[in-house]
């Protein structure tokens, strides 16, 4: 009986265009956009920036920036050119800059920063500063040599930097945003079925027809919950498959990043498992919100804040490194999905963290399911 009901619910759900759209098409679009965005972030293609300089600035001075990727915008007023969006950043040299440098007088250079909210402006500014520092160091070295002074006098110690974490920027990037997309996709995919299977059945009065059959209410609620879980899981797995295929066939940098990660097959398997566990947990919450509602619209009003919960963990975890993740990050449902996936996608397989995540989600899911079952056994919640 349970399976008959489950298969009917699945058939009914997948005949709903909304379910199809939200379980397959939406993840496809979201993940495609995400994959290409990340690929562009990791791409070696260097961005060229527009640098505003005064008209008549000599070639010799401009050669300071020859190692950087600049297009020079010659103008009477560099500030105006930046304000008009013609240049990312600007620079003004002393009238007799070269002569002053050659005669050991102090020359001045004015760097005009562009829009502080623009990533391009800030990158251009950093490159201008780097080029000027390099030029300054070259002049200092030349002067020391002319004075027969050892250049090491000016560098009493050397700084060596070493990162102990794996330098896999691609996977780290995916580890930040894949959980967000996955959590949202599962919520968006499972929500229409959840609303339809309880509130929708009350609204259309099919619930009364169902209650008039000799089928036990616990069988009904189990089959409906399993349907919501299955649709959520399918959405999550489709999302993962889309990412995997796109990375494999449509990217280079991300493909290399994935290929250089150890145990990638095992990691994908664990991520799929966690996706299914999360889908069952979310199905319980969406089931309760749908039982509470009398209409589909009311159910959607209740489920929207639940899905918004998926936005918070990313705010908490963005500034937390994988080595800083603590016990509470893996105990709190939803947050632990983000924490575990963040860890897994940088190649760390910590079984203790995985078991805590799975266990905590299962316990929360069982408690919420029991609440839903108690509600479903009461006439007040099953009949409008």
């Amino acid at each position: 009986m349970f399976l008959k009901m489950f298969f009917k619910e699945m058939k009914d759900s997948f005949r709903d265009r909304r379910t199809l759209l939200l379980t397959v098409v939406l993840p496809l679009i979201m993940m495609t956009a995400l994959v290409f965005y990340y690929e562009s972030l990791l791409s070696d293609d260097e961005q060229t920036y527009n640098l505003a300089v005064e008209k008549g600035t000599s070639e010799e001075i401009l050669s300071i920036f020859s190692t950087e990727n600049f297009n020079f915008v010659e103008t009477d007023d560099p500030e105006f050119a930046i304000e008009e969006g013609e240049a990312h950043t600007g620079i003004l040299f002393d009238d007799q800059f070269t002569e002053k440098v050659e005669t050991h007088q102090q020359a001045t250079v004015k760097v005009i920063s562009g829009d502080s909210f623009s990533q391009n402006a800030s990158n251009a500014n950093a490159q201008v500063m780097a080029a000027l520092q390099q030029y300054e160091q070259a002049i200092v070295n030349e002067r020391l040599t002319n004075e027969n002074i050892d250049q090491q006098l000016m560098t009493p110690f050397q700084i060596e930097q070493e990162e102990i974490t794996d330098d896999n920027a691609g996977m780290a990037l995916l580890g930040t945003l894949i959980p967000l997309i996955l959590v949202l996709a599962i919520g968006i995919g499972a929500s229409p079925s959840a609303s339809d299977l309880f509130a929708g059945e009350k609204e259309k009065k099919t619930m009364e027809a169902l209650l008039m059959t000799p089928v036990k209410r616990s069988t009904m609620i189990m089959s409906k919950w399993l349907t919501i879980s299955a649709i959520g899981s399918i959405t999550g797995i489709v999302t993962l498959i889309v990412v995997a295929l796109e990375i494999q066939f449509m990217t280079e940098n991300l493909k290399d990043a994935v290929a250089s990660t150890e145990n990638i097959g095992l990691i994908i398997g664990i991520v799929a498992g966690i996706t299914i566990i999360y889908a069952t947990f979310l199905a319980s919450i969406l089931m309760v919100t749908s039982i509470m509602a009398k209409t589909i619209k009311e159910s959607q009003s209740y489920s929207t804040p639940v899905m918004m919960l998926g936005m918070f963990p990313i705010m908490i975890l963005t500034s937390v490194g994988t080595s800083e993740l603590e016990f509470h990050h893996f105990v709190i449902p939803i947050l632990n999905i983000f924490s575990s996936l963040k860890e897994l996608l940088v190649g760390v397989i910590d079984w203790e963290h995985i078991f805590i995540t799975v266990g905590s989600n299962l316990i929360a899911m069982i408690i919420i399911f029991i609440i839903g079952r108690i509600m479903f056994l009461k006439d007040k919640w099953v009949m409008n």
Partner: protein, 250 residues
Amino acid sequence: MIEINEVTKRFQDKKKYVTALKHVSFTVEEGEVVGLLGENGAGKTTLLRAIATLLHPTDGTIKVAGYDTVKQPNDIKKKIGVLFGGETGLYDRLTARENLEYFASLYNLSKHETKVRIDELTKMFGMRDYLDRKVDGFSKGMRQKLAISRTLIHEPDIILFDEPTTGLDITAANVFRQLVHQLKQQGKTIIFSSHIMEEVQMLCDSVAMIHKGELIYHGNIEKLYEEENNEDLNYIFMSKLVRGGSDYVS
């Protein structure tokens, strides 16, 4: 067949209690067709829901085919078919056949029994042309026929209809009346609520009148005509409400 004994039903609406049924008692014999009459909000649907095991009486008992509605609901559900008015309770994305097959499976009918039953009902209601079409595009009449078929899929002995012809066009309403006639000939026990007095006069052996949750009359319809010295059920109903002090009539 159906024994309603001192049934009271109270609902809690926020902090107030609303009494929908007050000490209602009557019996329906096997093969009897009973018309349930009453104003809107009189308690007809509550009574039908209580008989159908969907609501538990606050006080009193209801026995259907010897089974208690509270203690043995599943035994009753196998023997009863219910159609609540206005709403057809069908799955729009499934075809008519899929709807019938699904409900047949919930009543544990075998594949063969289901096929035979669907053939019978399709013939009875002339649904052959749209049996394999999705319910989504059905007219109200087609939906009602399918909903009645779904109610009868497991051949129940007792059938409850709550305002079954509400919103139906004349043809569909006539099809329903013919059906009740057929079911009556098959010996089925039927209770249906209605606002249409002609329908009740035409189809019922007896009537039960409910006013503000109280049973104000139950008995044979012919006896009622004799007692009231009148054969206009509409007039009799209205005069009983006046005697009962209906707010609506006053």
